[in-house]
Symmetry: C3
Subunit: 404 residues, 3 copies
């Protein structure tokens, strides 16, 4: 790995005027474009430093707290990796091992875990209307704690997937697209199909679809959102995607045909999610403690799903895509946050046919590879006043990360 590639990245970061210092990263659409560019540049620089065996330790101690309210492998390890590469100690807040009450005490817990904490990463994606609210509540609590002198510094709250957005995934996706097509400037005018796909499971979050349509429209792409009737995402976020497209010169369209979405697409992103209305009902039933009705809702939802087993990314659909996509592909680039439900591999019928997935498998690993660096970049930018200076110092010193 040539370290000569790193200085230009840092110089561009320097000129980014990022506004993330002492802030949180909860929703991409709350951040100006300069912040998104800064995250991508810092992530690339950190990845180059790591691959060149140069120490990336920005901290010599301090906690990186994670709070997973849903299961996670990839994001858990990405967060722990980001913590380690920056020199922080990862510490998981396992709510089953702590007696965390509801209501008023979120703000208390937020402060109690933050005395020596630099970042709090939260996954809370199970219930519409809940996840983002919880993250914002934690952020407000540590803001107050710092203002009142309780906390020596103000930990950043980072969204590791909420009911609304999944920024560490979608920015890793954006970095993947940048690398796939050569630059961010190469994205405008390219068609990306964000489509629903069948999965035998229930209650998958909507955040990836919402995150992709709102983010990629900012970069001039022609974004198509496809799903069967009833599988809408949050309406306000569709409107936001349309607005972004208008501003960037891209487009945002909707269809109920997977074929239409795939037609001439250069990128396809077939992924299951739960219907918005079901998710909304679910939250209401959950709040009311209606266990029996929740079970019925699940049955109903799975039955609904089963009527759309034809929403599978397979050869027939891929043959409709743009065969001139860059880098010698004879079909569109396939994206997925993983794990995918692969027909005949880990389920009888799923989001993608085995042969299609296999052709793109290593590409999905590359897509995933960026996530630790994206998270580390978010920590660097929210916690360090002069991130470009910090990266320059690391590069100048070039302390080997591994001896021998």
């Amino acid at each position: 790995m040539d370290t000569a590639d790193i200085r230009p990245l840092i110089e561009r970061l320097e000129s980014c005027a990022a506004s993330l210092y002492r802030k949180d990263f909860l929703l991409t659409w709350e951040q100006p474009a300069t912040d998104l560019h800064a995250v991508l540049l810092a992530a690339e620089a950190l990845e180059h430093l790591w691959r060149a065996n140069i120490s990336t330790c920005v901290f010599d101690s301090g906690l990186a707290v994670s709070n997973f309210r849903d299961k996670s492998t990839r994001t858990r390890f990405s967060f722990a990796s980001a913590a380690s590469m920056l020199g922080l100690s990862a510490q998981d807040l396992d709510e089953s091992k702590s007696q965390i009450a509801h209501g008023e005490t979120v703000r208390e817990t937020a402060n109690m875990i933050s005395f020596l904490t630099e970042v709090i990463g939260i996954r809370d994606d199970l219930f519409l209307g809940e996840g983002h609210k919880y993250m914002a509540e934690v952020a407000a609590a540590v803001e107050e704690g710092h203002r009142e002198g309780v906390l020596p510094s103000r930990p950043a709250v980072i969204n590791l997937q909420s009911d609304q957005d999944h920024p560490t995934q979608t920015l890793a996706d954006l970095l993947h697209l940048q690398k796939t097509f050569g630059s961010l400037e190469a994205l405008p005018g390219r068609k990306i199909a964000m489509t629903w796909a069948y999965s035998p499971s229930y209650g998958k979050p909507l955040s990836v679809a919402q995150g992709i349509i709102t983010l990629m429209t900012r970069f001039g792409m022609n974004v198509v959102l496809a799903h069967p009737e009833g599988y809408d995402v949050i309406p306000e976020l569709e409107q936001l995607a349309a607005q972004h497209a208008e501003e960037s010169g891209g487009s945002f369209t909707k269809t109920q045909s997977m074929e239409q979405a795939f037609q001439d697409a250069e990128v396809v992103y077939p992924k299951s999610w739960a219907p918005y209305k079901i998710m909304a009902q679910r939250t209401a039933l959950l709040r009311g403690g209606e266990a029996k009705k929740l079970k019925e809702l699940e049955r109903e939802c799975l039955a609904d799903n089963a009527r759309h087993k034809d929403w599978e990314c397979n050869d027939r659909l891929m043959s409709l895509t743009n065969r001139d996509a860059s880098r010698g592909m004879s079909e569109a680039h396939y994206m997925h946050p993983l794990p995918a439900d692969i027909t005949d591999v880990n389920c009888d019928a799923g989001e993608v046919a085995a042969n299609v997935f296999e052709r793109h498998r290593l590409a999905t690993y590359h897509e995933a590879e960026h996530k630790p660096y994206i998270i580390a970049a978010m920590i660097l930018l929210t916690r360090c006043e002069r991130p470009a200076r910090v990266l320059t110092d690391l590069l100048d010193k070039s302390t080997p990360r591994r001896l021998g």
Copy 2:
């Protein structure tokens, strides 16, 4: 944060003649006053260093093992924070993931987890007569292991709450009182009311009440212990509190009236605990495996509790307290280890009224804030032969903890 404040603290620590090196910290009353002063001074110095962004890494590797036999958020994160700030790797001994047998093998497990371990923090507060015994057994085992050459060094055992004492809490409380009133010398003659309060929960440990009455009497305070009939604490510890008061010129009195305790108090500490006799019965039933009788005991105990819902810290009681307490308060300082049972917030009737708690909420956060540094100070003093020298070195070097 001005680093000029740090050297005087270190100088005073230097002159403390602390005797903690290669020892444990299990019960405050086992330690001479010089050790307690040393813990407070080292904690303050560490907090100043942290707030001044100066590296506090005393170790470059090694384990800090925690063993929580009861749920914990605050103490878990305080311990992990203390480990991180000193450069140790926190590692939790989760007994559900390990097959730890009872009896003889405690001493074996203690050694097996200690080959590269600097400190073992233990919470074991559920059963009277058990927690302290377990900690002492672990301490004896690592003492033997070190003497016999099995362990390269002798890890310190630190009590993170036992059936008897909760020293990391009460020393953080003492530091809070020191800061509240300006100095330890300002404490003698001030009245502190350690009183029982109603809570809808069952089986809360007695250790905070026991720790407060035995510790604050050593610093010349006028300590009042208040509780309904039957909610006694361990009799020997009441006697010890009386003896401490006699030695220090303070006082130790008892009452069954919350009003009387609050009358003219400058500090109130209303907190629920289980009656001593019930806790003793509970241990006996548990050892006998009497699940049904344990359930009955719990019912009985909760019914007993419910007869004392009037033991709530509210405006009426606070109005009885000393209105001239320092720092411009118009009522006594309120203390609690958190989380508190707050009426109409996280329960229907609890230890404290919502408006009283809200007035003192940030003060309780400040009280909690000291705990990571108290634990770190205990590790420093038990593991380093010349702790003042170590702190001086850290200050002289002033390596930034966080870059940029």
Copy 3:
């Protein structure tokens, strides 16, 4: 601890021509003798450095991932200790907190947890025919990931106990024998009895017995494997032990008499395991999801076990052993990976009588003590191209691990 002992170890390591760089450590019999010597030498050097308070940090960040598919205390803490001493962040892959699918996706998970990972330690010992297969699958997956540019470097997979071998235990045992008898050269011709012993538990892995008979035969020992009829180990591994003995000039014999095994032995290793055939049936039933038959099999197996309660290491048996064994023992050295089932201590009838265990208790702690350094040595040798150079650098710098 005199650091003068360290340079000769490093010099011998230098001349070892170890072939572990960028490899895994799964089975001792796959590694040439030079690799085994290298592991022992590096472990000794690391232990000396640690005991001399010299920093052993080879990495300044990066993950050490553990994946325990069976309960563990000793190995879990040994792995975490090894990670910490080298500067890595230990991160456990808890499959209950992640949605890990079966089949095809092992290779995916392996990559997803490895982006910044130096080592993956796996315990998978519950099912014959499964554990080693799983580890090999993980190793192949990260090999592919690295080859394809997904992973910046190739994490080593280390076997923390499989259905076949338990190399971190048996190499720690070998180091213990080396220290007990003075050198590896002192081992040829000494008799070691690897014998089954009664335990009230069910389904214990065969890996220690298999690991010991295949490893100690390579070092010229006279290995006797003893067990009741039906408690065979994997036949291929018995054949391998015989072949090793032939090559080294040692011997490998079998007996169904514990007495015969103990006769004149200098080392006895009495330890329970499940019969090979039962374990094979168990895997088949498990794959078939036959919960009821599994329960029956367990009952049957425990009843079988109970017919062999006389297979207990007690005074009578110890009196048959070699009374001239070195270091002033009046009986054979006793070994056990711990925890042992000790009669009248943690069970009514077990592997060893309480008085025999007590005489050897501290020796078993010393045996266990080596494991963290063995694991650290495996990481060093698999991850660093010039491990001897790395150790020399650490010694030359002699940065104190702990201040003060």
